[in-house]
Amino acid sequence: MNILVYAEVRNGKLKSTAGELLTEARRLTGGKTDSIHAVLLGEGCAAHAKTLATYGAGKVFVVEHATTNTYQCEPHIQTISQLIQKNSYKVVLGAASPTGRDFFPRLAARHKSGMLTDVVSVSLDGEKVVVRRPMYAGKCIAEVMSQTPVTFVTIRPNVIPAELLNAAAEASVENFQPNIDAAAVKSKIVEVRKGKSEKPDLTEASLIISGGRAMGNSDNFKILHDLADVVGATVGASRAAVDSGYAPHDMQVGQTGKTVNPNLYIAFGISGSIQHLAGMRTSKIIVAVNTDPDAPIFQKADYGIVADLFQAVPLFKEELKKIVEHS
């Protein structure tokens, strides 16, 4: 049984999800690394081949091609399809990131094969691939089975802890030149505009600090950014904060925003509506600070403090600073 792992590179950097995917791939092959292939696309991506080997990739295909150096859906699909034809994989794994979620469904449709998105675990039942995936923004978890010989799976970032296999492993690299049918590329990338922050996206962040309507205005969000900077956290917001113009919409957590699952989610001045909870309930640890002792968020919080956030935030900053400085 061969598995292909799409290891995502953005801005020359390998995404941390690569280690998570390879760890899950190893579980599926029972530790056999020869049957785990990984593919890297992008300018200078060869530099990451060794890292993939240390997480268990038995072979790494390196693709450097004018059409795949910057992500574009169609050339990525053509490249990976050609690898699939060459090596017949049972499972093609990627991360449920904005890139993975963009091209995997289309790739799966091209192969008329099962597509399972945003899954939290993958297993085999006889010959069939079975996954668990949250639905209704995490209000339930479905066990879904693929019925096709090849199955395409994207795994939710931050769920499977990446386990290094062998820090000394050397990659077995094969440079792969895809045959790109340029006429089929009907959507061409013209520009990639840098984001505002270098922090991990909310969907991939392991620490999130969020503010709600109680933040009162956009300037006040600065205190959350300051606090977040101490521990390298990403800042999120409730929809009320976003709709009031206190925070941009790409910071919204919830059923109509981003679904997140960090190790730690700290909610300041967020009431804990069902739609907000839907987006962050799988956080490993939830901390809530709210002036209202009856706020529903306290029912989901591992730790809560009934207090004014404006007084609490500077104190959190102080305490977290101490920890960062002493470790």
Binding site: T117, T148, K186, S197, A301
Partner: protein, 259 residues
């Protein structure tokens, strides 16, 4: 210009999910439905595109009788007519590939220049149908679209899409295309009263799912489970704040081990 918009009727966001038949199904007896929130941005963009470039707009929806409600809402917002793929009486499971193949047949008949969809549906959270439909119809797609600027009439468009960390990818896309609307694309209008009145009389054609369905599902749900509920946490109050914060941060390190 011919504009299609795909709309899904989904359980509203207040919905409490309960299991039926020991987890074989979900208990939908108390579900209330709404237009998938991202589809509202798709509808709005369809209407605005038609207002600017003229032509015709069509809403397409697949589902049981109740989905006509969603289609009427789209018409009230300004869409001209509807094509409903009626799933009443269809017993089997439908995966996103089946849905995409059925919708692709309507797209092949209608020959639109653009198909607007919501970037994902908030019930299954898959975000499959847009890209799959585009593949089946041989059109390019862009997902999580935050801006569309039409070029040369409607021959092509410059489209912005949001990815992680606020990064924006900008594409030049040839028509016909599938665009998955994101939240910041526009501000959907409330259906105006005259629009609601007019919508009742707009044409709504019906197609039977069985006539459009050609494939068995590629994936099937075996069962559903509810997430395990957390045991109640520790809530501090009434003590001096510096001490409470110190305690919580201490617990995050010693007990929860997350920092």
């Amino acid at each position: 210009m011919k504009i299609l918009v795909l709309v899904k009727h989904v359980p509203d966001t207040e919905t409490k999910v309960k299991l039926a038949a020991g987890g074989k199904n979900l208990d939908d007896s108390e579900f209330k439905y709404m237009v998938n929130p991202y589809d509202e941005f798709a509808i709005e963009e369809a209407v605005r595109t038609q207002e600017k470039l003229t032509g015709e707009s069509v809403v397409v929806s697949l589902g049981p009788t109740r989905v006509q409600e969603a289609m009427r809402k789209a018409m009230a917002m300004g869409i001209d007519r509807g094509v409903w793929i009626n799933t009443d009486g269809h017993g089997g499971e439908l995966d996103s590939f089946c849905v995409a193949t059925a919708l692709a047949k309507v797209v092949a008949e209608e020959k639109p220049d653009v198909v607007f969809v919501g970037q994902k549906a908030i019930d299954d959270d898959s975000a499959h149908v847009g890209p799959m439909l585009a593949e089946l119809c041989g059109m390019p797609h862009v997902q999580v679209v935050t801006k569309v600027e039409w070029q040369d009439g409607a021959q092509s468009a410059r489209v912005e899409r949001e990815v992680e960390g606020g990064i924006i990818e900008v594409y030049d896309v040839k028509s016909p295309m599938v665009l998955g609307a994101h939240k910041s694309l526009n501000e959907p209008r409330f259906p105006p009263l005259p629009g609601i009145m007019k919508a009742k009389k707009k044409p709504l054609a019906e197609k039977k799912l069985s006539d459009l369905l050609s494939d068995a599902p590629l994936t099937t749900v075996r069962n559903y489970a509810l997430p395990s509920e957390k045991s109640p946490g520790k809530v501090f109050k009434g003590e001096p704040l510096p001490e409470m914060v110190k305690k919580v941060v201490g617990l995050l390190r010693s007990e929860a081990k997350v920092i």
